[in-house]
Amino acid sequence: MVEFILGLVVALAVYSLRSGDLLHGVLALSGLSLLCAMLFFLFEAPDVAITEAAVGAGVSTVVYVWAIKATERKDKAQ
């Protein structure tokens, strides 16, 4: 279980680095934070899990999405 989640975390991290669309990368990071929160919960650290879910998956996604909305695409082709 833990190895599976860790593998998913690595896959999501690589995807968010390699994906061409910034929005897809941000959503992948949000899912990564949720998986990390699940890992923290499995390792009996519920306080950290709450923080990771609220900050990583919630607030930081809002901030990233706002930043993407407030800026412009560099390459118009995609």
Binding site: D47, V59, W66
Partner: protein, 242 residues
């Protein structure tokens, strides 16, 4: 040239991993015993000394309250910087934001209104629960404050007009943050007057869990107001100049 560009980040990541393995290797492979004394001490006497069943709360508002005060100040500085950047970005762009993002009216959907409007109060109640019961169950001021901030962001997304509930207005949130930080400073300084020292238990007769609960509530208010002020300011700046 292109291959060299692609290899750069991978080489960087590999060397970073090698470096951290080099640093961590003595810690993992060394035969010196892992320090267990603080953990044993907390397990044996933490609950009796602080009165908090949740030992995490006992540590970060009891034994290590200085660190928590520092974290609160760091967050205050970060929010101040973000608000400054958002305000100057709004000044530079002027009123052009309205036309570029298509205005507030066109992006409203029934789905967004119903889901965020109905979910917001529930998330707020859960956040206050996490905040106030941090000494018993997992959670505390910081976690509860961030959940409260998500609830306020929900309410602010679900509003139909620019005059939403008072809790989603930037002025109210700024006042709550400033006031709660002032009360935190007064509360940790109260020990100087009553004789238990800075950050000491202000009421010498009372159980120390009282100060943990009060500090949890104050820090939750401060964190929630600060983070939601940042998000509300960003959302408002994307819709209309504020």
């Amino acid at each position: 040239m292109r291959r060299a560009q692609a290899a750069g980040p991978i080489l960087g990541a590999l060397s970073l991993m090698a470096l951290s393995a080099l640093v961590l290797w003595p810690v993992v492979a060394g035969d010196s015993p892992w320090p267990l004394a603080p953990g044993d001490y907390l397990e044996a006497r933490g609950q009796a000394e602080s009165g908090a069943q949740n030992l995490v709360s006992a540590i970060y508002l009891g034994y290590r309250a200085y660190d928590t005060l520092g974290e609160a100040i760091v967050l205050l500085v970060a929010v101040t910087g973000a608000i400054g950047m958002i305000a100057s970005a709004g000044d530079a762009r002027g009123g052009a934001a309205d036309t570029r993002f298509g205005g507030a009216a066109r992006r409203r959907t029934e789905l967004l209104d119903v889901v965020t409007g109905k979910l917001g109060p529930v998330v707020l109640v859960f956040g206050v629960y996490v905040m106030m019961f941090g000494h018993i169950s997992p959670g505390g001021g910081f976690q509860g404050g961030v959940v409260v901030a998500s609830g306020i962001v929900f309410l602010s997304l679900g509003r139909r007009s620019s005059h939403g509930p008072r809790i989603t207005r930037a002025g109210t949130l700024a006042a709550v943050e400033a006031l709660s930080f002032l009360v935190i400073m007064l509360a940790v300084g109260l020990g100087l007057v009553t004789g238990s020292g800075f950050m000491g238990n202000p009421l010498p007769g009372a159980s120390p869990v009282v100060s943990i609960v009060v500090l949890n509530a104050l820090i939750g208010l401060k964190v929630g107001a600060g983070i939601s002020l940042m998000c509300v300011a960003m959302l408002a700046e994307a819709n209309e100049p504020w």
